[in-house]
């Protein structure tokens, strides 16, 4: 039996596991050390590993990610934090032009074993510049791996896998999930990147969700079960690599696909997934694929507005209901 910890605590547990194992793992970011992180996700790591390995920085996202990149090119395995994922837009050059492309442009001369952690997503009433889900932005850039854990166990296991991976991994921590808890396995826990998990078996409908939306999809599935609709819920966990085979396997069984996405509508990950499923599972489908997303708007701040924007349990349930026809 493992321990029950929060998603927030799991971040530090995962990082500590890897830092204890490998002295080349170092951390860099704003307020991550002495303050333990703006989200307190790195609390205790400075005390455990010292200021050489947990480095507080100025407010310089380009310098932070550039330093992570240069360090990764020269033998370290840095883990950089970009506090709110929205801030990726002030360092998108380093991520999209530099980190993502260095291996390719140099024909493999350069390896970039680094992790960038982001506080991602909405639900905290922070408004349009502190609430975005940026996974689809990152997914669109060749050369990046993109991970979004939904449980404390996945935070630990996927963090370990991300740190050990020789490619740059964008690790999106869902801000709304930081206070949630779950059990983590005893001892060292290392998961596998690029693997989805079936969180709920079902025969009638496949619902694919990511991060915070996994929990809403599961709650909606409970409601629908009471009405006699048996939903399978797939937690995608990773956008790159994308576990098409798990999704396709589920769709072949159920004949119906719904995606639940926190991102705004256009070019969300669900659009890519839907196009793949349409190409590869067309004759297995009994109904049109349906995407349940935030509308194509910036996220508003007020409770009532944000709740209306991001897919809710009720909306997931009702869209699945109406999609069943």
């Amino acid at each position: 039996m493992g321990q029950v910890i929060t998603y927030r605590e799991a971040v530090a547990v995962g990082l500590a596991q890897e830092m204890a194992r490998d002295p080349s793992v170092v951390m860099i970011g704003e307020d991550i050390g002495a303050a333990g992180g703006v989200f307190k996700a790195t609390a205790g790591l400075l005390e455990k590993f010292g200021p050489e390995r947990v480095r507080d920085t100025p407010i310089s996202e380009q310098a932070i990610l550039g330093a992570a990149m240069g360090a990764a090119m020269t033998g370290l395995r840095p883990v950089a934090e970009v506090m709110f994922a929205d801030f990726v837009s002030v360092c998108h050059d380093v991520i999209a032009n530099q980190i993502a492309k260095a291996r390719y442009m140099t024909n493999g001369q350069v390896a970039l074993p680094l992790v960038v952690r982001f506080g991602n997503g909405g639900g905290l009433r922070f408004g349009a510049q502190h609430s975005q889900s940026v996974e689809s932005w990152l997914m669109a850039v060749p050369g990046l791996k993109v991970v979004v854990p939904s449980t404390p166990a996945d935070v630990v296991g996927l963090m370990a896998a991300a740190v050990r991976d020789d490619d740059p991994v964008m690790f999106l921590e869902e801000k709304a999930l930081y206070p949630t808890s779950g059990e983590v396995p005893e001892g060292e826990h290392v998961d596998q990147l690029g693997t989805a998990r079936v969180r709920r078996d079902g025969a009638d409908v496949t619902i694919v969700a990511l991060g915070t939306m996994v929990h809403r999809a599961l709650a909606a599935a409970e409601q629908l079960a009471a009405e006699g609709t048996d939903c399978e819920v797939v937690d995608l966990r990773s956008l790159v690599p994308l576990d098409v085979s798990t999704v396709a396997g589920s769709v072949r069984k159920t004949g119906r696909l719904f995606t639940v996405e926190e991102n705004p509508r256009l070019c969300g990950w669900g659009a890519e997934l839907a196009s793949i499923v349409a190409e590869e599972c067309f004759y297995d489908l009994d109904a049109p694929i349906r995407r349940i997303t935030t509308p194509h708007v910036p996220l508003p701040a007020a409770d009532s507005l944000e709740d209306a924007a991001i897919p809710s349990v009720e909306r997931v349930a009702s869209e699945v209901r109406s999609g069943l026809g």
């Binding site: 240069g70 090119m73 442009m105 350069v110």
Partner: protein, 351 residues
């Protein structure tokens, strides 16, 4: 508005203590002959690259260092083989002088399979990690932050490797420059920030768009650094300055920001005839061409002219051979398109 022409000075930045500790006497004559060789190799290579454009064999864009060779030569001679070097798209010189094979550099410009990066990077992204030439970067300013990372890594690993990073005057006006300098100064990172001030960004004189007359040096004090402006057309001066800066960096005394004033003889890139520059200014700088100037000085200091003649002949032969090798090489292999996106060597994004 005319660009401000700076009177080169060697800064008083160097602490006497550091000076005493470091081997910073004038370069021995053999090393200076090698610095001459370095400049000649770059000059001949760049001329060849230009000729190959004119024959439409080099596609895309390319940025030459003709006129700026002394900086490349002086820095290269001052660094250790295990130091890290980062350059910009104007990086042929720095790649060559860090030991990238000339035929492979030319092959990269020609899009050949034998190119330094098998044709995947092109002129603007030359990289040769076997000699710690950590790449050439085409987004203005970004690589200064990456150079910091290599220096941070050396600092963390406890080596005394130095990182040298080249950039232009125009780069001093982008945010990444300021983020990089602040972090390097705060963390005392072993970096030599080497500004190749050729007085122009692409087509606009730097003086027209910069709040201070010396684009790099006048920013130094904001980061607690000494202003250093040197004659970038004098390899001896650049060598000396770099050696001092590197020795301070190795001793844990942090970064230096050096502004080396120079001039590109041609336009910004292949497509640019450089007509926005007054004839008198171009003439003035052609008269300060670093190569003939250095040759004369070496002769005066006792190097036999036959030695310099031989250096020139050898460089000519090397370039000719590199050209023939590169031209004879197969074009880049389309099978490489989906290779080396990820560490497994491939481009697979799904399972």
């Amino acid at each position: 508005m005319r660009p401000v022409i700076l009177r080169p000075v060697i800064s008083s930045a160097t602490a006497p203590r550091a000076r005493d500790r470091s081997p910073t006497g004038p370069a021995p004559l053999e090393l200076r002959a090698e610095m001459y060789r370095a400049q000649v190799r770059v000059r001949y290579f760049e001329k060849e690259a230009y000729d190959l454009f004119l024959q439409n064999l080099v596609k895309g864009t390319s940025h030459l260092s003709i006129g700026q060779e002394a900086i490349a030569a002086g820095v290269a001679a001052a660094l250790r083989p295990d130091d890290y070097v980062f350059a910009t798209y104007r990086g042929h010189a720095h790649a060559l002088l860090r030991g990238a094979p000339m035929a492979a550099v030319l092959g990269e410009l020609l899009g050949r399979q034998t190119g330094l990066m098998a044709g995947k990077g092109g002129s603007m992204h030359l990289t040769y990690t076997p000699n710690n030439f950590m790449g050439s970067y085409a987004i203005v300013g970004a690589h200064l932050t990456i150079a910091n990372g290599a220096a941070w890594s050396a600092q963390y690993r406890g080596t005394d490797q130095v990182t040298a990073v080249f950039f232009g005057d125009g780069t001093t006006n982008i945010g990444a420059f300021h983020e990089a300098l602040n972090l390097a100064a705060t963390w005392k990172l072993p970096v030599v920030f080497m500004c190749e001030n050729n007085l122009y960004m692409e087509y606009t004189p730097i003086s027209q768009v910069t709040a201070v007359p010396r684009p790099a040096a006048d920013r130094a004090s904001a980061y607690g650094l000494e202003p250093v402006v040197v004659d970038g057309n004098d390899a001896d001066v650049v060598y000396q300055t770099t050696l001092e800066a590197a020795s301070r960096a190795r001793a844990g005394e942090g970064p230096s920001l050096v502004e080396a004033v120079t001039y590109r003889h041609g336009g910004h890139s292949r497509a640019d005839p450089g007509k926005y520059r007054p004839d008198s200014e171009v003439a003035e700088w052609l008269a300060k061409d670093p190569l003939p100037r250095y040759r004369e000085r070496l002769l005066h200091d006792g190097v036999e002219s036959s030695v310099l003649d031989r250096i020139e002949a050898e460089a000519r032969a090397e370039v000719d051979q590199a050209r023939e090798q590169a031209k004879a090489a197969p074009v880049a292999d389309p099978a490489d398109v989906e290779r080396q996106v990820f560490a497994d060597g491939g481009a697979t994004w799904r399972r």
